[in-house]
């Protein structure tokens, strides 16, 4: 009978191993030219931020009234100078540090908290799900910009408070996505089969749910990085985030605003940086989503 017949040999035959999941994703991603260009730009921006002191030709803080609003192409100031006569190129390079930090950190924090909340709500279901999701909906009632400004204002100006308020802004959408993918996965037959084999909730979530929900949530979260950067810039612009004279693209855009008629090209430069960065993150996350689809 079965019990005897199925005694296993303790040896495991050597097997042909398929390409792992992430290796497959990397292979498919590497064949997507748009995603690779976006990734290259992101890497370049990160390197720029890390090695800013070596790359920047000048001091990003020290200005000179003599150099105010020098146009692009001025010798020694390839990208001109800002309204206080600070070297634009150096400020843009240094600005990548805070801008990227303010773009990525709140999203990562919200990814961790929102995923946990959403996966819990989605897996448990029922009244607990309803309670969590309706609470989340309350935050949805406010436009994200307004919410970020209100929270930041309430917490008080400053970098940390800006990060906290941005994190709170991103938790609801991530929770919602996490809840919906988890609800889908929870109803798949393989989860039913796992329940039927007597596995407990925690094991099922760890083995069968996480692997299948984290990547779609992550892809969604990466698409929020650009939003986060823009919101962070907005907070700085309103004086709620980074404070002058720190270089940060959003804040630079704000302070150069007054010079837009005098030196429009220089004034637009921080905006161009924000645009390039956010579109790179968006294109990369699109590519990632496609590459993660196993059946392509």
């Amino acid at each position: 009978m079965a019990v005897g017949a199925m005694d296993s040999r303790a040896t495991i035959t050597p097997i042909q191993v398929s390409e792992g999941y992430w290796r497959g994703v990397a292979r498919r991603l590497s064949r997507d030219p748009v995603a690779m260009v976006a990734l290259a730009i992101i890497v370049a921006l990160v390197l720029m931020a890390v090695f800013a002191p070596y790359l920047a030709p000048g001091d990003p803080i020290k200005g000179s009234m003599l150099r105010r609003l020098k146009p692009i192409g001025t010798p020694g100031y390839p990208l001109g100078a800002d309204e206080l006569g600070r070297d634009m190129l150096s400020r843009l390079i240094y600005g990548a540090r805070l801008s990227l930090f303010m773009g990525v950190t709140p999203v990562l924090a919200a990814f961790a908290l929102g995923s946990a909340l959403g996966i819990f709500a989605g897996y448990v279901g029922g009244a607990i799900n309803t309670a969590i999701m309706r609470t989340i909906d309350v935050f949805y009632a406010f436009p994200s910009v307004l919410l970020a400004v209100a929270l930041s204002g309430a917490l008080g100006a400053g970098l940390t408070n800006a990060l906290v308020s941005l994190t709170i802004v991103f938790i609801p959408p991530i929770t919602r996505v996490a809840e919906s993918v988890t609800t889908q996965v929870r109803n798949r037959d393989y989860v039913e089969a796992a329940r039927a084999s007597g596995a407990h909730g925690f094991t099922i979530v760890r083995v069968h749910v996480l692997g299948n929900v984290l990547s779609p949530i992550f892809v969604y979260a990466t698409s929020l990085i650009s939003v986060s950067m823009i919101l962070a810039s907005g907070l700085s612009f309103l004086g709620l985030g980074v404070r002058p004279p720190e270089p940060e693209w959003g804040l630079m855009l704000n302070t150069l605003r007054t010079a837009i008629y005098v030196s429009p090209l220089v004034a637009a430069l921080p905006g161009v940086m924000i645009f390039i960065t956010s579109i790179s993150f968006n294109l990369f996350s699109d590519g990632l989503r496609t590459a993660m689809d196993v059946r392509t």
Binding site: M1, A2, M6, T13, S18, D189, E192, A193, G198
Partner: protein, 348 residues
């Protein structure tokens, strides 16, 4: 009664049913309107009882909405029943027999071979998951997975390390079967397990199921809409209609001489295999009614060719019929008031 090899887990002996289901009921609420909570329910399973003997294959047939898949999920305790008792080898599930112990002995194979495998796990990890949950060390669980792969006809060295999307539907269904067997269950519920497969592959999987049943002394519940396949696989057949059992009996009997008019109509609806004896009239008209609001009395009376006035008033119970089946039809119940029924027998 088949000759079943002795299983040390067998408690009640070969003649005690492996599974006894008593008055199983499951109604799903239907939310309507803004505030929901209306009283409308889908009567998916509405009082089902049957016995499953050790070593037999019970086929469950019926059309969409008849409750066959809900019955399978209730038997697996994937959804809690509203009412009813499941007795496994003499022990009431959830009372005498704790649910985890029951689940080790009952496993299920689903219709959709792709949806029932975790796309992120390799084949060996999928099969080894259940034993690992039950505390088998990883190495041993993987060894068992490789043995099972070989038993379902997939060479372990070629398949163990692969992912579900790299395999064909037939191969995936073999893996689902291997996964179901990993806990060494006594009962396997096959819910439309071959329905999505191509015919030439279906035959291979049916043969495999027969081989495994013999090798492991399994008992099957075989749910399918394909009557040909059920006739081939099943020892006994249960015909369901709108959440109720219409008829249950030996496969031979039910297929040769159906006692319930619905079973007869279902059989007559099978396409003829003889070009010179094509079906000329459809046995039934229209679709099965909605289980949200099933007809009163006998649920089949709205489509039955032998309907009498009593049929819309009296709900027939499942009773032993003369032919050896158990049938829920007033025509087979003496004294029911149906013109085709025999008069009531005098109690001697």
């Amino acid at each position: 009664m088949k000759d079943v090899p002795h299983d040390p887990r067998d408690r009640g002996g070969p003649r005690q049913p492996l599974l006894s289901v008593n008055r199983l009921i499951k109604h799903f609420p239907v939310n309507k309107g803004l505030l929901g909570r209306s009283k409308t329910v889908v009567r998916a399973v509405d009082g089902v009882d049957f016995d499953l003997l050790k070593g037999e294959t019970l086929g469950i047939v019926g059309e969409s909405g008849c409750g066959k898949s809900t019955t399978a999920r209730l038997l697996m305790h994937l959804i809690p029943p509203d009412h009813g008792e499941i007795v496994f080898d003499g022990e009431s599930v959830g009372h005498d027999l704790p649910l985890p112990d029951y689940r080790r002995q009952v496993q299920m194979v689903f219709q959709d071979s792709y949806a029932s495998l975790n796309p992120r796990l390799t084949i060996e990890d999928s099969i080894a998951f259940a034993p690992r949950v039950h505390g088998v060390p990883r190495r041993e669980a993987l060894g068992r997975a490789h043995d099972l792969l070989a038993r379902v006809g997939l060479e372990p060295s070629r398949f163990a390390g692969r992912y579900p999307h790299e395999l064909s539907g037939g191969q995936r269904q073999r893996i689902n079967i291997a996964r179901a067997l990993a806990l060494e269950p006594r009962l396997v519920i096959l819910d439309e397990a071959v329905s999505a497969l191509d015919k030439s592959v279906e035959a291979q999987v049916l043969n495999l199921l027969l081989d495994l049943k013999e090798a492991f002394g399994l008992t099957y519940i075989f749910i399918s809409h394909d009557l040909n396949v059920v006739r081939f696989m099943a020892d006994r057949v249960m015909v369901m209609y709108l959440g109720k059992v219409a008829e249950i009996g030996s496969a031979q009997q039910v297929f040769a001489q159906p006692s319930h008019p619905y079973s007869a109509a279902l059989l007559a609806s099978m396409p003829a295999m003889d070009p010179d004896a094509r079906t000329e009239t459809a046995p039934l008209y229209g679709d099965p009614p909605n289980p949200i609001n099933p007809p009163s009395g006998c649920r089949f009376h709205t489509r039955c060719g032998s309907v009498a006035s009593v049929c819309s008033q009296v709900e027939p119970a499942l009773e032993d019929a003369a032919s050896g089946q158990r049938v829920a039809c007033l025509m087979r119940q003496p004294g029911s008031g149906h013109p085709a029924a025999m008069p009531a027998l005098e109690v001697a």
